[in-house]
């Protein structure tokens, strides 16, 4: 077998490190500030979920699930799953995980929907963004942990950051697709009646793209939940950390409990957002 010549060695790693150093030094103030703001925001969300009395959440989610799915037993099941998390003694950790998911999904939507809209209204922007999104989705999720760690250190903020990077592509992509799928003749009619760009966006494109965007939100939420577990490696407290600790100590039972809670949480979030996405608007 022929060895690849060692003289050919592109120092990509060195370059990336250098770039990262440069970013860290140049923008350290910015990232510190950003980190502070995000932290502040997250603490509030976490406080809210931890404060929320458990029966309120269990019953509230149950009723809501009943309403959106239209099946009482579905609501009952959702409520029971949440109850089970508490019954295993993991309520507080569960709420920490949930708050991280909620925070990262909210920020993902704030970033993702406008990007999706921009992508839909410019073919050139779409051509640039599409390969980037493809790359982001094929990259193994824990790769994002490294820059997050370097930019924000350990803790909730880098966990949130990594989660957003990992979870945001579907909502961008599906907002774009949803808007582009709107029938051109409807858009033409809107133009014919003298609508402006924003009027077309808010009165025709977004309402008609809503089901597709909701599917994007569903996917983003599921990915955020998956990433939250992984981001426990850089210090996010919650169910993910519980799993991580159990693995380290080879405590199968403990890991199973926490894992099961994550699955339940995933089912509840998925069913509800999916039902919202497919629900017919009356």
């Amino acid at each position: 077998m022929m060895q690849f010549p060692e003289t050919i060695d592109i120092p990509l790693d060195v370059w990336v490190d250098a770039a990262m150093d440069w970013v860290l030094i140049t923008f350290s103030g910015f990232f510190d500030l950003l980190g502070q703001i995000i932290l502040y925001f997250m603490i509030y969300i976490e406080k809210f979920f931890v404060w929320l009395p458990w029966p309120v959440l269990v019953i509230g989610v149950g009723l809501f699930a009943w309403r959106v799915t239209g099946r009482w037993w579905s609501g009952l099941l959702m409520g029971a799953m949440l109850f089970f998390i508490g019954a295993l003694g993991l309520w507080k950790l569960g709420m920490m995980t949930l708050s991280l998911v909620v925070a990262s999904v909210l920020i993902s939507l704030i970033i993702g929907i406008p990007l999706g809209i921009a992508m839909a209204s410019s073919d050139r922007f779409e051509a640039v963004l599409k390969p980037i999104l493809d790359g982001m989705q094929t990259m193994p999720s824990f790769v994002y942990l490294i820059p997050a760690l370097m930019l924000f250190g350990l803790g909730k903020v880098p966990a949130l950051f990594a989660t957003i990077i990992y979870a945001v592509p579907p909502v961008i992509r599906l907002t774009n697709v949803g808007i582009r799928e709107v029938s051109p003749s409807v858009i033409e009619a809107a133009h014919a009646f003298g609508s402006s760009y924003w009027q077309i966006l808010f009165k025709a494109q977004l309402p008609l793209a809503r089901p597709t965007i909701m599917v994007g939100i569903n996917q983003t939420t599921m990915m955020a939940l998956a990433m939250v577990v992984i981001s426990s490696m850089i210090g996010a407290k919650g169910l993910g950390l519980e799993v991580l600790l159990a693995i380290n100590r080879i405590e199968v039972g403990r890991g199973f409990e926490a894992g099961l809670c994550i699955v339940f949480m995933a089912i509840v979030i998925d069913r509800i957002t999916f039902a919202l996405a497919t629900k017919k608007k009356q």
Partner: protein, 411 residues
């Protein structure tokens, strides 16, 4: 400068060429190359080539042609849903092609209601909210626009359906919504791109009738696209015929039908029942001579007939056409020494207005009494007469170009 009745829309030398570099294609087109040649050499599509026409206020202009002849492109150049490559479009004297985006939006809001072949309703909005859309975009208050929208919904006969969503309605009803959406605006021009083509024939006929009824009240300026000659004849005050982006003929239905500009037009005309198209006026013999019941006796009537070379004459009394006398009876009455026409006046006659279709005349002329039909104006003044022989020969004449057309095609 005195403003006389101005054309509502004037289109001057309008071209639309699809493709990245229309100038090259435009030059070729102006040198006389054909649409196919230009497509082959430059990969540019010719949508409309050198179209010029005018639309008068309150008139329905029908643009007709086969699929792909550029009708939709032409009508979209008027409100600039498609930007023309060159040429001008004037609406009320204002050049639409020079408006910037904001001006264009306002111009559309003010002047153009549009109805589409595939309805193009907003599927997420109720009927009422579809209809109010144009007003909503203009920033009209909720109360005012709901009221106007409700009125438009009633106008098109959809009262009671205002809270339905379009998917729940039949095609005909959906297009009524489309029509109401355009009417609610109170714009002075309606652009209707094959508005009824997607509907089945019975519903289509209803919609056509309704449009004509509405138009009687509203007097909008309507540009109506159609590929159906019967529809064009029914709706159009004037018709424009297009082929390969070029206007090949324009005129009234009758002008086009009786004198097709070329074989393309003739091929359209072919399957139209001529008697439906020709009117009483176009098959009558002009004649204003009448006898007067009060003053004319048999001899006077006879003299009038002899002078005009006719064998019967309509009789008038107190401003009305009341009957007819024949030369034969006049002679008999004169021999009997009668002084008036009363005894020989035949009161069962057929009177028609000049615009009735010629096909309704056959039954009137088929009567055993064989009298001609009187063509009268609204004051019962005689305009002309129609006799069987004349009707037949006029029909034969108008069939002629079609016969020539198919004969030369066989050679």
């Amino acid at each position: 400068m005195e403003k006389i009745k101005m054309e509502k829309i004037v289109v001057e030398n309008l071209y639309k060429i699809f493709g990245p570099n229309p100038e090259v294609a435009l030059k070729m087109l102006k040198k006389g190359h054909s649409k196919d040649e230009i497509m082959e050499k430059t990969r540019h599509g010719v949508g409309v080539a050198d179209a010029s026409f005018k639309v008068n206020p309150g008139e329905i202009l029908v643009v007709m042609g086969l699929s792909g002849s550029g009708k939709s492109t032409l009508v979209r150049c008027i409100n600039r849903l498609i930007n023309p490559t060159s040429g001008r479009v004037l609406v009320d004297g204002e050049d639409v092609t020079r408006l910037n985006n904001k001006e264009l939006r306002h111009f559309r809001q003010k002047h153009f209601g549009m109805v589409f072949q595939n309805f193009a309703l907003f599927p997420h909005r109720t009927v009422l909210r579809n209809v109010e859309y144009g007003l909503e975009v203009q920033g009209i208050s909720l109360d005012a626009r709901r009221k106007a929208a409700m009125q438009a919904v009633e106008q098109v006969g959809l009262k009671g359906w205002e809270d339905s969503i379009p998917d729940q309605l039949s095609g005909g009803m959906q297009q009524r919504v489309g029509l109401a959406r355009a009417l609610a605006l109170d714009a002075d021009i309606m652009l209707m791109d094959e508005a009824f083509s997607a509907l089945d024939p019975l519903i289509r006929r209803d919609m056509q009738d309704e449009l004509l009824d509405l138009q009687e009240k509203m007097q909008k300026t309507i540009v109506f696209i159609s590929h159906d000659l019967d529809e064009a004849i029914k709706l159009g005050d004037r018709i424009i015929l297009m082929k390969d982006g070029v206007i090949v003929q324009q005129g009234t239905a009758e002008e086009i039908l009786t004198n097709p500009a070329d074989e393309y037009v003739a091929s359209f005309v072919e399957d139209v029942d001529m008697t439906k198209v020709l009117t009483a006026e176009s098959v009558m013999k002009k004649s204003e001579i009448m006898a007067y019941l009060k003053t004319d006796g048999p001899r006077a009537a006879l003299r009038k007939m002899q002078k005009a070379g006719i064998s019967s004459i309509f009789v008038r009394e107190k401003g009305k056409c009341v009957g007819i006398v024949t030369a034969k009876n006049c002679r008999k009455a004169a021999d009997r020494g009668e002084k008036t026409l009363h005894a020989i006046l035949e009161k069962t006659i057929h009177k028609v207005t000049p615009d009735v279709p010629a096909n309704t005349l056959f039954s009137m002329l088929g009567d055993e009494n064989q009298h001609p039909v009187a063509v009268v104006d609204e004051n019962d003044h005689l305009l002309g007469v129609i006799v069987v022989g004349l009707l037949m020969s006029r029909l034969a004449e108008t069939m002629q170009p079609e016969i020539n057309g198919s004969a030369s095609a066989n050679v």
